[in-house]
Symmetry: C2
Subunit: 335 residues, 2 copies
């Protein structure tokens, strides 16, 4: 059975039935009306959207639909985490070729639900349209905490200052290692399987984002385009430079075991790890390190004098980067 | 110049520069961070999303990019209007083939801005991705008013009751008339041009939605799939039936002038007029009719005894419908 057999309204009804029956108190109207409605307190709303297109953001046939569902939501949650907020409600848009098997959509929604359940997200609505290529777009709405003075407590890109330290949560490069394993089509056992899981089922750092806020950090970005490029976004927004010590970048253990020679460069440029890059004064980074639920590693510092990311080795020499991260319209860049 | 020459970040910067420079007081963070952030009062949030795919929802080459930008936002605003709310912030996702001319994206954004300005919407963020086919997805967040008892004041699909009257704003069929004119490729003068404009630049009824709320109406839907099918959605959600008098459906004057023999059927089944279908007690409909900024026409009534839409002629005889509206995965249905 494919989705054109069910039709738009049949498919919506099927997906609605698969969602948890008990809506949270705050949801006034969920799927099935012109729009979703929920109650809110005074404060700050955070909203983000992210899309995955078949053949562009994942390799159809090489990955599980269930994992695509997880990842589509997780990348959005990561954006909310990178603001220091908590996710709440999601709108899910599916662009479906008419011949898409209903089983694929069911599996996609299973992964979506798993991620929604893990992170306390309610799927409140969406849209289903026919299209020549599969794509999933999620809009995610969340909330920021407010200070005692009713100011929003946020992690921004434009708050890096000269002398700040740069730190990253967890270990990097696992995701791009998984992508390489998928492309090379190697047997999926042990380390390779774990790398692919890191690529397809990222674990956004909402807890770390909130802990960073509590520790007094006000500048962050999630690592989606790649450490060097995402650090560049912070530098551009803040009008500062950065020095990144390549030898200090924490490396995914399975990446090192699998692609030893390239591990360091892959971790610095690869992207899609969805760890947090935090920037703050030394004492705030120290407090965050003690409080965070994941390891936090200092990898460099912010410097004055020009918007530029210098990548340095252990001796302080510049390291030429092979790629500078991912541009979604141009593909990978060059040095 | 096409979008792959500019790249993702170049294009984002270009689009951001084209947006109004002065952000509203409530917007804390707009385009350029991981997510958008705005301040809110306590109350109710309304959120909806709607997608247009090239070749599915519009005919590339036959329509203006500027009009596609308008329509993509207007269809979302209509969903908020159909809840009785007011739109506020939009996230815009563009799926772009790399060879898309930058001029096309500029024109698209011009139309988007025109619609945003007319309806007080702030474009707060979005996503741009590469894809084999053009698509635009907008997520729109708005607000509902609250009653004195802190209950949200909404127009819902599930609030129709036996004996209620069914009324529609404005005139119907102009949009499907425009679609037919586009498909038949006729010279675009006079009535035909106005029909095409009705198809491509719908005017969502936010004012009418709010006036309906003030008049005590609590049930509505916007006419996107077609009058008969959208009335069916209300019947399904409310567990009631409906009798629709085909002879009372207000017809677009240019539709009658152009497609006289089919006008009535086209207006009842066509869709995409983005007028409001209101359902309420006779006195509430009368109050709304006096207060609404557009003509309101009673076209039928809600009846008990089975979820079913009967379409009747002036003598009360059943009229067989040729189509029952638009299903986005199956195409047009049959009787």
């Amino acid at each position: 059975m494919n989705v054109s057999d069910l039709g738009e309204f049949g498919l919506i009804e099927r997906l609605r039935a698969a969602l948890p029956a008990v809506a949270p108190d705050r949801l006034v109207i969920g799927i099935g009306d012109d729009a979703a409605v929920w109650r809110r307190d005074a404060g700050c709303t955070i909203a983000t959207t992210d899309t995955m297109v078949a053949g562009v953001h994942f390799l159809p046939g090489a990955v599980e639909w269930r994992d695509i569902g997880w990842k589509a939501l997780a990348t959005n949650i990561s954006d909310i985490a990178a603001m220091g907020g908590m996710p709440a409600f999601a709108l899910v848009t599916l662009c479906l070729p008419p011949e898409t098997p209903v089983d694929a959509v069911d599996a996609l929604y299973t992964g979506l639900r798993e991620c929604a359940d893990d992170y306390g997200v309610t799927i409140a609505g969406g849209d289903i349209v026919s299209a020549p290529v599969f794509a999933i777009t999620i809009a995610l709405i969340g909330e920021a905490k407010m200070s005692g003075h009713r100011e929003p407590l946020l992690l921004r890109r434009d708050a890096a200052r000269d002398g700040d330290l740069i730190a990253v949560t967890g270990a990097l490069g696992g995701s791009v290692g998984g992508l390489r394993a998928l492309k090379e089509g190697e047997p999926r056992t042990g380390a390779l399987r774990r790398l692919i899981e890191r690529h397809m089922r990222p674990q956004p750092r909402t807890d770390a984002g909130r802990a960073a806020i509590a520790a007094g950090i006000r500048c962050a970005i999630d690592i989606s385009d790649g450490l060097v490029q995402d650090l560049g976004h912070i530098c551009s927004a803040s009008g500062v430079g950065a020095e990144l010590r390549l030898d200090r970048v924490p490396l995914d253990a399975d990446l090192v075991a699998t692609y030893r020679d390239d591990a360091s460069m892959m971790a610095a440029a690869g992207g899609e790890d969805y760890e947090l890059l935090l920037v703050g004064a030394e004492d705030a980074i120290a407090r965050a390190s003690a409080a965070l639920p994941v390891p936090l590693t200092v990898v460099g510092s912010i410097v004055a004098g020009g918007v530029r990311v210098r990548v340095l080795d252990a001796e302080g020499h510049d390291v030429p980067m092979m790629t500078s991260g991912w541009d979604h319209l141009q593909g990978h860049g060059s040095p």
